[in-house]
C-alpha cells in the first residue's frame, strides 16, 4: 500500500490572454515513491513543487502524464492522501479534539471510537491536556502538531506535506523534524515532503528528488540509506549535503534567465 508512481507529468497553467502567457510549471517529471518510503522533494522556489504535490492530492490535474497510487490513477482528493499545509489550515471553530476527529467524522466513524483514535493521535504528537483548546490558543509549533495528528488520524496511505515546518522558528522546526522521524518510525507509511532545506530532507528521507529550475524536471533521484536518527555531524550526512548543494547550485549557472538568477542570489 502507498506506492506513488509519477509518470511523465507535465503541468501547464493556462494564461489569461494579453501579457499573461501560459506557464509551464512541470516538464516531464517521473519518479516512484515506494511503499512506506519517506520521499523529499527539493528545488528552487517556483520549480513546481507545490504544483506536483497538489496533483498528488487531487486538487489539480496534470496537463499530460499521470500519477498513480497503488496502480490506480489519482482522482478527487480523499483521505488516502492526507495533506499537511504550511499554514496549518486548522478549522478555527473546532477544538484540538474536534480538528483531529474531523476526518474520522467524515468517514462516519462512531463517536466513541472517533474520540479514542483522536486522543491517541493527540498523545502521539505530545499534546495531552490540550484537547479542548482552540487553534488560536496554541503556538505555531503546537498547531502544526495538531495538523499532523489530524492527517494521521484518518490513517492515509500517503501523507503529503508542503513545507510544513517553514513557518516555524529554528528551534521548533528542528524539534518537529525529530518528532516526524519518530512518528515515521512508529507509523510506517508513505510520506512525501516538499522542502527548501537540504538538512531537513537528509534528516528525514529515504529518497530525495532534486528538481531543476522551472519548468521542473527531476535532476537527481537519490536514495538515502543512513540509519535513523541521523546526526548532522555524521561524515556521510555532510558529504550528501555537499553533493545536493552542488546539484542545486548548478541550477543557478544553468538558469535560462541569468538576470533573474542574479536577483535571487
Amino acid at each position: 500500500m502507498g506506492v506513488l508512481d509519477v509518470r511523465s507529468v507535465v503541468k501547464i497553467y493556462p494564461g489569461h490572454g494579453a501579457g499573461d502567457d501560459p506557464v509551464k510549471a512541470l516538464a516531464d517529471v517521473s519518479f516512484t515513491v515506494r511503499e512506506n518510503e519517506f520521499c523529499s522533494i527539493l528545488g528552487h522556489s517556483g520549480c513546481g513543487k507545490t504544483t506536483l504535490l497538489n496533483i498528488m492530492a487531487g486538487f489539480d490535474a496534470a496537463t499530460l502524464g499521470e500519477i498513480t497510487l497503488d496502480g490506480r490513477p489519482i482522482g478527487k482528493p480523499g483521505w488516502e492522501r492526507a495533506m499537511i499545509f504550511q499554514d496549518y489550515a486548522l478549522f478555527p471553530w473546532l477544538t484540538v479534539l474536534g480538528n483531529v476527529g474531523f476526518g474520522l467524522d467524515m468517514k462516519r466513524v462512531p463517536a466513541a471510537e472517533r474520540e479514542a483514535i483522536a486522543k491517541r493521535q493527540i498523545a502521539l504528537v505530545g499534546l495531552n491536556g490540550f484537547e479542548h483548546r482552540y487553534p488560536h490558543q496554541l503556538s505555531g509549533g503546537m498547531r502544526q502538531r495538531v495538523a499532523i495528528a489530524r492527517a494521521l488520524a484518518v490513517d492515509p496511505s500517503v501523507l503529503l506535506m508542503d513545507e510544513p515546518f517553514a513557518a516555524l522558528d529554528a528551534q521548533n522546526r528542528s524539534m518537529l523534524q525529530d518528532e516526524m522521524v519518530r512518528i515515521f518510525m512508529e507509523q510506517r507509511k508513505t510520506m512525501v515532503l516538499v522542502t527548501h532545506s537540504i538538512e531537513e530532507a537528509i534528516k528525514l528521507s529515504d529518497r530525495i528528488i532534486v528538481m531543476t529550475r522551472r519548468p521542473g524536471r527531476v535532476k537527481a533521484d537519490i536514495e538515502v540509506r543512513m540509519s535513523r536518527p541521523r546526526a548532522e555531524e555524521d561524515p556521510e550526512f555532510v558529504a550528501l549535503k555537499a553533493r545536493i548543494r552542488d546539484l542545486i547550485h548548478d541550477e543557478f549557472d544553468l538558469s535560462e534567465a541569468p538576470a533573474a538568477a542574479a536577483a535571487t542570489r
Binding site: A57, G58, F59, K76, P77, G78, W79, R81, A82, M83, F85, D87, A89, L90, F91, P92, W93, F102, G103, M106, K107, N128, G129, F130, R133, Y134, P135, H136, Q137, R150, A151, V154, L160
Partner: protein, 284 residues
Amino acid sequence: MSELATARATGALSPEELAALHAQHRPPGLFQRAARLVGLLLFFGLWELMSVVILPRIDPNLVTLMPPPTSVLAGAWELIQSGDLFKHFKASLQREAVAFLYASAAIPIGIVMGWSRTAQHLLEPVFEMLRPIPPIAWIPLAILWFGISDLQNQFIIFLGIFFPLLINTIAGVKNVEPNLIRAARCLGASELDVLVRVVFRAALPQIVTGVRVGLGVGWMALVAAELVGATSGLGWLISDARSVLRTDIILVGMISIGLAGLLIDQGLRWVAKKLLPWSLAMTR
C-alpha cells in the same frame, strides 16, 4: 490525570503573577463609570431646566412641544400601567421576528451564490437591480398590495433585512480560506460536508454580521412602515400620539424604539460571543 495535564498546560501561577494579571486586566474603573453617569445626569438636568424654566418664559405653549423628562417618565408610567407600551412593543418585535424568519432565506441563497459561479451569474443581476432601492420606497406599493396590515409591514422589514444578510453571506463564503476547503476534502469530506461543515461554519461570523446589520436596517424600515401603514406598533404609537399632540408619548415611543434596537443588537452580540468564541478571539 486530565487535571494534572491542564495544570501543566497553563502552568501554576504564583500570587505575584496573579496580582499582575489582575492589575493588567482590571474592569473599567469606578471613576470612569461615575463620569458616564455624570454625563447622563447633566443631559437630563439641562433638558428639565430648558423645559420647565427657560421655555415657559419665551412662550408657555412651547412646553407642549418639548415636555421635560419628568413628564416623559410620567407618560411612560401611564403607558406601562395601561399595558399599551408592552402591546405595541410586542407588535413591533413580532413583525421584526417574522420578517427575519422569511429573510433568513438569504443565508442559503447567499451560500449557493458564493459557492457556484453559475448561481451567482444567474441571480446577481436581479438582486443588484433591486438592492439599491431603499425599503421605504416600497411602502406605497406595499400598501396597495397588502393593505394596512402586518403583511405590509413585514414585507418592508423583510426587504431591509434580506439584502444586508445576502451580501454578507456571499462575502463570507468567498472569503473562506481555500486551504480549509482543501484540508476538508483530503480528509474525506463530501461536497455537502464541505458546504455545511466548513464553508457555512467559516462564513458564520460574517453571516452574523449580516444579521446584525440586517436587523438594524429592518428596524428602521419597520418604524417607517408603521408610521404610515399600521394600526399597532411603536411607529404607529408615535404617529397616533402626534394627532392628539401628546408629545410626551411621542418621546416615550421614540425612546422605546431606540432601546429596542439597542436591545436586539446587544442580544445578538451576546449570542455571537457565546456561539463563536473563536471568531472574536481572531479578530481582536
